[in-house]
């Protein structure tokens, strides 16, 4: 059951199209992330859901209520909670008053407000700090105030606009889990905007990848990672190698195809949508560094086995990176940390056809 529905949403600023007729549904209680590079339209989409931006076209529906297109419901009437990138904690109000602001507008009795604020302060880990001014808090604490303020009214929808981007790396990692468990516990439908793919993987039930105002792919993190819909997604999520080439032959029954690679050898790839694959078509085969198998001695002959020379070796503690040159094509390979091969030595790479994905 879709709780938030976005239909054909379109928004431009001057002549720049920020959001280009996107369709999106968010289920009740789900955490959906809008992921993409800066300028892809993810924040604009979020602001359209909030009502801070008025779309040019399209519908925004929250909990069955039309927010836009038939009339325009202002943000103040949408029953949403929002965490801004810079927290937007009001510096002239104490923490308590920041959080109580929305409750006071609802004209709740004083003791109820006090109860609710105390409770939410506790659950974001700020118990006892209600009397402080934001200027007396650290960045991380301000962030929690913003979160508490967004949650205290039990909003129908929680919107988060890159909430962790101003925190340091360690705190950022911890907050991902904290936000996720808090939102889960309160069972609030959440839309989360970030450009950090690792953050998106941790926090989301589903990810919508955006590029240049379009939603390119929507799905659970695993699906996005393993079956990227196109080159952009494969490149943006995680690290990958691209091997370009042309299709030679398609095996429709097995969803596989032979391609002629740029380094002049034949290679077998998976084709996710074999209907679109046809001979002579240009493709980019994507394979992740951890999916490449490495051999020091040549194993028995098979498809997709290539010989290359180690150009760089990088030790990262729990594994190694080899940059292997196969006839001027550089492949990044993740290998066990105890391999002792050095730069200039030979390696055999097996690019498992099941994990080589042909993208157009």
């Amino acid at each position: 059951m879709a709780f938030i529905k976005i239909k054909s949403l379109f928004k431009k600023f001057g002549s720049v199209v920020a959001v280009n007729q996107i369709w999106l549904e968010v289920k009740k209680g789900e955490i959906l992330t809008l992921l993409g590079p800066s300028g892809c339209g993810k924040t604009t989409t979020l602001r359209c859901i909030a009502g801070l931006e008025r779309p040019d076209e399209g519908d925004v529906i929250i909990d069955g209520k039309q927010m836009f297109s038939q009339g325009f419901i202002p943000p103040s009437k949408r029953e949403i909670g929002m965490v801004f990138q810079n927290y937007a904690v009001w510096p002239h109000m104490r923490v308590f008053d920041n959080i109580a602001y929305g409750l006071k507008l609802q004209k709740l009795p004083k003791h109820v407000i006090k109860e609710k604020v105390t409770e939410i302060l506790e659950s974001v880990g700020l118990a006892g700090l209600g009397g402080r001014y934001p200027g007396q808090l650290s960045g991380g604490q301000q962030q929690r105030v913003a979160l508490a303020r967004a949650l205290v009214r039990n909003p129908k929808v929680l919107l988060l606009d890159e909430p962790l981007s101003n925190l340091d790396a360690k705190l950022r990692e911890r907050m991902r889990f904290e936000i996720k468990s808090l939102v889960r516990r309160l069972d609030i439908t959440t839309v989360y905007v970030t450009h950090d793919q690792a953050e998106a993987m941790v926090i989301s039930d589903r990810i919508a990848v955006m590029d240049e105002g379009n939603i390119v792919q929507v799905g659970p993190p695993e699906e996005i990672y393993k079956k990227p819909a196109n080159r952009f997604v494969a490149d943006f999520i995680g690290t990958t190698n691209f091997i370009s080439g042309e299709i030679l032959e398609v095996f429709k029954d097995r969803d596989l195809a032979y391609i002629h690679t740029e380094f002049g050898q034949k290679m077998l790839c998976r084709v996710l949508d074999s209907a679109t694959a046809s001979p002579n078509k240009k493709v980019h085969a994507s394979i992740r560094p951890e999916d490449v198998e490495v051999f020091t001695e040549p194993p028995e002959d098979r498809d997709n086995l290539f010989k290359g020379i180690i150009m760089h070796r990088a030790y990262l503690g729990n594994f190694l990176y080899f940059f292997v040159n196969i006839d001027s094509t550089m492949i990044r390979v993740q290998a066990p940390y105890d391999m002792m091969e050095k730069e200039g030595e030979e390696l055999f790479l097996f690019l498992n056809p099941e994990k080589c994905i042909a993208l157009f």
């Binding site: 909030a50 009502g51 801070l52 202002p74 943000p75 103040s76 009437k77 949408r78 949403i80 909670g81 929002m82 801004f84 990138q85 810079n86 937007a88 904690v89 009001w90 510096p91 002239h92 109000m93 602001y101 929305g102 507008l105 609802q106 934001p134 200027g135 913003a146 303020r149 967004a150 009214r153 919107l159 101003n166």
Partner: protein, 560 residues
């Protein structure tokens, strides 16, 4: 720390000690003198606060300050919001018009409005002529008129500081309020306005303190019962009456103490409430929106109304400048260039004095201000913060305090007041912080690594200053120079105590011509001439400094 910096610091301190601290201390000391003796005591102050009349002037001045502040706030709040937030055609031009009074002398406005709104003024005469009224209405004489004219003069300070506040608020702070359920006016009251209080206060303190400084406007309205006016009358006309002289001096000191105290309190308060540093990602434009038709119309009406009031001043002065015998007629009927002939041919000294005194003062300002700005922003010389503080404090001192203290201090012990140099010197001291602030601001924008690169390349500090800093500072410094000149050019409250025969400046000429009860034409022509000169200078600034708005800004920043 280099010896050069220390030497510079000593030099600047000597200037401050001799031209600021010495005369002002002399003034304070004098106020404690028991008349006719060489003893000191608080008798003068007891007399002052026991005398029902002086107590009344004291409370009158406070009341005037509050009323002017209230009026400017009520008028300025919507105006500032319109300027900061709505996208309107011709806004820049209207803004420039509304901000014009900031550079116009207040007394010129007072003359103009009396001619237009007075009992025998244009409006009353027209209404009588059309038979709408049977006897003149009192539009302007009295406290309400004084409040009105001072409010019109001070409106830009409130508008500028508030609209800067509205512009600088991080948009997300308001958006957060909207998401939380606060729409429109509610949001404005709970979030927008409170966030602007530091900005508002910065402007409000200037407005509130103005009646403690402006002695002339109340006199023009025939209302002498205010602290600065009575101080002027007592000291300038009753210097031989010991009681009145000392009451005058006490008035000056009391005004100064109130001004300095208010200034320091507001400064402290503003500094403790600096909100802007907290939020990141503020957009330069803030939130500028296209208003609906109703608001658009309202905004235009409001802006036009204010602009017309402001434009009345140069218009009326212009009319009187080119006419004579404009009495008991709604508009002048006898047109002539006679007034200008009188100014240019019969007393060209006024113009010459004005230019020379302001020019020399400016020279002092630059020679003092640039090194001082350098010392304060770029070195760690001990005592530089105190130096900065003392100089900044001069912003709060009323002009009459400078004038009276120079009159007292440079008379017998150091007979400087007998030389014409005292005129530019006092102008320079009066606007001491002014040029410094400008140079200071420019210095802060100048990346220190540019200077360091020069020093690494082998240039000494002085050469670096000449080759690198000065050229890069030039634009900011130039705007500062012109604005300083404008301020010095229209200065009267200091100069009026110090001028002697032959040292009269244009503002003093205006005052004297009005005072002698001569025809308004000459005074009007002088004021008009002054406005034209100021306007030309402003045009130059706006060419270089980016818009008249920017120029006016500089002045607002400087006066504070």
């Amino acid at each position: 720390m280099s010896r050069g910096n220390l030497f510079l610091s000593t030099l600047l301190w000597l200037v401050v000690a001799f031209f600021v601290i010495y005369p002002l201390s002399f003034l304070v000391l004098e106020s404690f003198k028991i008349a006719g003796t060489n003893h000191f005591g608080i008798q003068n102050y007891i007399d002052f606060f026991k005398d029902a009349y002086y107590l009344k002037t004291f409370s009158n001045t406070l009341l005037l300050g509050l009323l002017v502040l209230l009026t400017t706030t009520l008028l300025g709040l919507p105006l500032a919001y319109i300027l900061a937030r709505y996208r309107l055609m011709g806004k820049t031009l209207l803004t420039a018009l509304i901000l014009l009074p900031i550079v116009l002398p207040a007394y010129a406005g007072a003359f103009a409005l009396i001619v237009f709104f007075g009992k025998q003024g244009t409006v009353n005469l027209l209404l009588l002529e059309w038979g709408l009224i049977s006897k003149p209405i009192n539009f302007i004489y009295g406290l309400h008129g004084l409040v009105f004219i001072q409010a019109l003069h001070l409106l830009p300070f409130i508008v500028l500081s508030l609209s800067a506040g509205f512009t600088n608020i991080d948009p997300s702070l308001e958006e957060a309020a909207e998401v939380e359920g606060a729409h429109g006016f509610k949001r404005f009251l709970t979030v927008t306005l409170p966030l602007c209080t530091p900005n508002y206060l910065a402007g409000a303190v200037i407005v509130f303190l103005w009646p403690f400084t402006d002695w002339l406007t109340p006199l023009i309205f025939g209302l002498p019962d205010f602290l600065p006016s009575i101080a002027y009358i007592n000291i300038a006309y009753h210097f031989t009456d010991m009681y009145r002289k000392y009451m005058g001096i006490v008035s000056v000191v009391v005004s100064s103490v109130i001004c300095v105290a208010m200034f320091l309190i507001s400064k402290r308060w503003v500094e403790s409430k600096k909100y802007t540093a907290l939020s990141k990602g503020t957009t330069l434009e803030g939130r500028i929106i296209d208003p609906g038709a109703f608001i658009r119309l309202g905004s235009y009406l409001y802006m036009f109304f204010t602009a017309i009031l402001v434009l009345l001043i140069p218009t009326v002065l212009g009319l009187s400048a080119f006419s004579r015998r404009w009495v008991l007629e709604p508009f002048p009927t006898y047109w002539t260039l006679d007034n200008f002939r009188l100014i240019f041919i019969e007393s060209p000294g006024l113009l010459k004095n004005s230019f020379v005194f302001s020019g020399v003062a400016l020279l002092f300002g630059v020679v003092f201000g640039l090194p001082a700005a350098y010392l304060i922003t770029r070195t760690k010389v001990p005592g530089k913060d105190t130096l900065d503080f003392v100089i900044t404090l001069m912003l709060a001192f009323p002009g009459i305090a400078v004038g009276v203290s120079y009159l007292l201090a440079f008379w017998e012990v150091v007979p400087l007041a007998t030389h014409w140099m005292v005129m530019p010197l006092s102008l320079f001291v009066r606007r001491l912080p002014y040029f410094l602030r400008m140079a200071h601001a420019s210095y802060l924008q100048l990346d220190i690594s540019l200077e360091e690169a020069s020093e690494v390349s082998g240039a000494g500090k002085f050469r670096t200053f000449l080759n690198i800093s000065l050229p890069l500072l030039l634009k900011g410094v130039f705007v500062g120079v012109v604005m300083f000149f404008i301020m010095a050019f229209q200065e009267i409250s200091t100069a009026v105590f110090l001028y002697r025969g032959g040292w009269e400046t244009l503002p003093i000429g205006i005052y004297l011509n009005w005072h002698r009860g001569m025809e308004f034409g000459i005074a009007g022509a002088m004021a008009f001439l002054m406005i034209v000169i100021i306007f030309i200078l402003l045009l130059i600034v706006s060419r270089i400094g980016g818009g008249i708005l920017g120029a006016a800004w500089g002045s607002a920043g400087g006066r504070y």
